[in-house]
Amino acid sequence: MTSNPTTISTGMPPRPSFWARLQGGLLALPLALVLLTFLAVPVGIVVAVSFWDYNDWEVIPDFVTFNYVELFTSRLTYILYAKTLKFAFLVWACTLVIGVMVAYVLTFRIRSTKWQIVLFLVCTIPFWTSNIIRMIAWIPVLGRHGLVNGFLEQTGLIGSPIEWLLYSEFAVILAFVHLYALFMVVPVFNSMARIDTSLLEAARDAGASGIQTFFMVILPLCRPGMAIGSIFVVALVMGDFVTVKMMSGGQAASVGVALRNEIALLQYPPASAAAVILLLFVLAMIYGLTRIVDIRKEL
């Protein structure tokens, strides 16, 4: 057996001096303060309020657990979660396919860096306007007398307008995919761009077809990017209420919509409890994902 003398580890790096550590601490301080003020404190308040009591006109500081008990014993909670998970799953599947395809074309089919940048910017064009405007833009496209129905009617493919294009679950998913596809494209593209092209040549040398190379080499090496994109997409869909409300015309519900309704009724304690559970749920999903894929490679 050959032992390579150059790979012998030199052990741990020496412990940084007091001043070096102080310097590091000072550098981290601003971000730590921002996170404390705008993340840790609000989350702490939400957790606290979730244990408070309330009636029709006021919230009462207390320590009660019935907000949670009610949440877990209500059938509605499970229905809402099932519905939201269905949205999340479908949107995740669509954005994953789109993300991988777009990233693949950008990385391996577009040869020049200039065109890669140009096309990448094209992908970001939807983000030049706000969420709401992007959703509203779907209405003239998908409406009863919108572009799609108009076109299909004129070509004689359908006799009467398709009703489920707008204000339906289909519309919700379509809008989600439109809004969040880029969050999948970017990390997957980042992963793919790092793949050494000599790996693809090595695969070709060994007789792999384009499809085999894609599934055996490219896709496995994009797993960290796909995982990061999935975290974005799933977290965004799980927490959304605007898209669901607008694109379903108020006909579909989700965890976020229900939460929003409770807030509108000033029922802060149960809304807080629902928020805490949603947060834990999403964190658990992300934790599960990081068990399957090592995303640290990508960071």
Binding site: G207, A208, L221
Partner: protein, 353 residues
Amino acid sequence: MSELKGHISAKSLTKAFGSALAVDDVDFTIPAGSYCCLLGPSGCGKTTSLRMISGHDTQTSGSIAIDDRDLGTIPPAQRPTAMMFQNYALFPHMTVEDNIAFSLRVKGSDKAVRRQRAGHLLEMVELTDFAQRKPNELSGGQQQRVALARALMMNPSVLALDEPLSALDPFLRLKVRAELKALQRRLGITFLHVTHSQSEALALADQIILMNSGKLEQVGTAEDLYHRPETAFAAQFMGVQNVFRADGVQSGAEMRIFRPDGGQAGGALYRAPIDAFSFTAGETPANAGPATPAKVSAIEYAGDHLSLTVDTQPGDVGLKVQVPLEAAAMNPPVFDQVGTLTIKPESLVELTR
């Protein structure tokens, strides 16, 4: 040993990238079952030649045949070649075993066959205990052997190796070099080994193909290139000859030396082995053959001798001279010392280019 495989013949091989010719009208044949080194400085077109032979680049014009079968433009997998890439190009997400068995997997061989054949190759490269590791858990030398095993899994007639030793430390390089040569002998296939190191090529090659800026410079055995370089470039690249222009070399009296590149007019182009030169401090020795005044400009210790660079006066043409250690001990050379450079006239060989 079985029948030798991997006779390569390249005819008018040319590769253009845009208007630049990376490989320019190159012809060579490589005997079956030989160790051939493609030698030359960085950027001279070695990798491009190798990639055309293994099918990763398509030639702009010309043809390549292996064992008398013209390869045209068929893809790498259909050629009797396998490539070992410069940085090894191991699949980082696969175990050593899966890397080695990759070519079987894409062919659809079943798992038992894959395991058995990979096991055989793992044994050959002495990595059996590392079968389940990932490439990044291996040392450079071990990665190199995985890449080798993965290439050999394809049963090639020609194994193309692109600078296979350059990522290894010098100590390991010598060991692996010997292993490569032994393996080539045992397999009876052609190893086509790209390198920029003349010592590597001299040590390994049955045949050396020396290239310079896309063109073939010389093809021959290690001995040919070492002792009988045919061009000024070959003589300089192999590093054991002085190359210069000179006149008055036969008369023995007044030799004048000029730069080999022809920047200074005059003289014919010559080469002579470094050990045919000697430098004497002080006065000109009597009847010592062609001689010229010279000044010491560099002194290097080379183990069994001192290696001097002396600049001819006038002209400042730097030539190498070896001084045996005993002579150096009696009469140590010093910088800027002025003396006489003499050449054994019978060792001079006139070059045409």
